[in-house]
């Protein structure tokens, strides 16, 4: 497939690895923000090919992982209602709430469906006028235009039986939290390419200058990631701190204005709690007043649950790169994909899941 195969070319990757070994002369710690990139780095073995002085830590770019427990518990209550058809991306189904997960709601008779697109939820609402269709809107700026379009479309069609549980989060406030956290070691960022495809990277210039930290917007294939690491290492070795664009085939400086418009039409920025990280200012999107009638949180108001985090889960430290998954005491023993303590062990973008799946840790029995 064009725009995929060439970025998986092992000869190109080899040359970039060689270049990287020549470039890196001192110890550096860099963070790939996006959980999808974490998985590619570990799956393709890039973490083991790069110079030992270039240390990768894994970032908070896993929406499933950072969705607060209260939101998961709220989703579980709504999904269990008899009149509700609850739609979600597949990743959310195994995420542990306080007492159970969406999969177990389905097992006990709840109508919980995996959909590929929020627009599929619109179709479901159209075809099932007697059902209350609820879409669990998690994701970063990449996904927000899709859920916004679903609501715009539902409104155009006059559908009254569709609502969303809005849990969107924004990337830059999380990067801000990482660089300002006490004990932070991150000296450079690989920033998430698809978020920037939507939002552009004008704000990244200011961020890089203010925190004196280099940023390279990077694509998702192994060759993209290696080139991103090379560009980032070059900046660090030269003492520069700029926002550079490795992923220019999909990302422009100003991003996709049409996508930004639909986000702005439906959502407004709010403070939002992140699982394991606490409340981050201006870090989430909530529905604008004009869309409150499609807000599942309002439609199915409920305070009948009490959320309690498992004390042993250290996902907060994992998510900002302070703790490596395999250094967690519970990893592989009291926390496995079958019996997870936290979301990073079950999300396809979770760092713990990547370490488990690709054998990056001695599994303790």
């Amino acid at each position: 497939m064009k725009y995929v195969d060439e970025y998986r070319d092992p000869r190109l990757a080899e040359r970039l690895v060689e270049k990287l070994h020549k470039m890196v002369t001192r110890p550096w710690t860099v963070m790939e923000v996006c959980g999808g990139q974490t998985h590619t780095l570990v799956r393709s073995g890039i973490d083991r090919m790069i110079p030992p002085d270039l240390r990768l830590v894994h970032g908070p770019g896993c929406p499933v992982c950072v969705t607060p427990l209260e939101m998961i518990d709220r989703a579980l209550v709504i999904a269990a209602r008899p009149e509700v058809t609850f739609c979600s991306f597949g990743d959310m189904l195994r995420v542990p709430g306080t007492a159970r997960d969406l999969l177990s709601v389905r097992a006990s008779g709840g109508d919980v469906r995996i959909v590929y697109s929020p627009l599929d939820a619109v179709t479901l609402a159209q075809k099932n006028p007697k059902r209350e269709v609820v879409f669990f809107a998690v994701g970063f700026e990449t996904t927000a235009p899709a859920t916004a379009l679903a609501l715009i479309q539902a409104r155009r069609l006059g559908l009254r039986n569709l609502s969303i549980l809005a849990a969107h989060v924004l990337v830059l406030p999380a990067m801000e939290m990482v660089v300002t956290a006490p004990g932070n070691r991150v000296q450079g960022f690989l920033a998430a390419g698809h978020v920037c495809a939507v939002m552009g990277y004008e704000a990244h210039h200011e961020f890089a200058a203010r925190h004196r930290v280099p940023i390279v917007l990077t694509g998702f294939e192994p060759v993209d990631l290696l080139e991103g690491l090379l560009m980032l290492s070059t900046q660090m070795e030269q003492g520069r701190h700029e926002a550079e664009n490795q992923y220019a085939r999909s990302v422009s400086e100003s991003g996709n204005r049409h996508a930004q418009q639909v986000i702005a039409e439906v959502y407004e920025i709010c403070d939002r709690p992140w699982r394991g990280l606490g409340v981050l200012p201006h870090s989430g999107l909530r529905l604008r007043k004009e869309y409150h009638d499609m807000d599942a949180e309002r439609r199915f108001a409920s305070n009948t649950f009490a959320s309690v985090e498992p004390r042993e889960c250290r996902s907060g430290e994992i998510l900002i790169g302070l703790l490596r998954p395999d250094r967690c005491e519970a990893f592989g023993t009291r926390c496995t994909p079958e019996q997870p303590l936290g979301a990073p062990m079950v999300s396809s973008e979770g760092a713990c899941a990547a370490y488990w799946k690709y054998g990056r840790a001695q599994r303790r029995v």
């Binding site: 190109l12 996006c34 499933v64 970063f140 990449t142 379009l149």
Partner: protein, 85 residues
């Protein structure tokens, strides 16, 4: 979650005012209906990045060619330097 897959637009569907712009996009032999509302300038034959059923970005073929040209030249430059006395 931010997974985006490149695919080629093989058909733009005719739409009325009430529905979102849509078309068919081909990925490795698989053909899917995709929302093209956010890439109004993309034509049949163009490549787009698709996320959750929505095209979020049109691939810039010139930028892609430029990067690949540069990457492919990396190894040859090094080779040339090693050969040059």
């Amino acid at each position: 979650m931010c997974l985006g897959i490149p695919g080629r637009i093989v058909e733009r569907c005719a739409t009325d005012g009430a529905s979102l712009a849509a078309g068919f996009v081909e990925f490795e032999g698989l053909r899917r209906r995709v929302c093209l509302e956010l890439v109004p300038n993309a034509q049949t034959g163009d490549y787009v990045i698709v996320h959750a059923g929505i095209a979020i970005s049109q691939i810039n073929a010139d930028e892609a060619a430029r990067l690949l040209g540069y990457l492919r030249a990396i190894g040859e430059d090094d080779l040339a330097q090693e050969i040059t006395p």
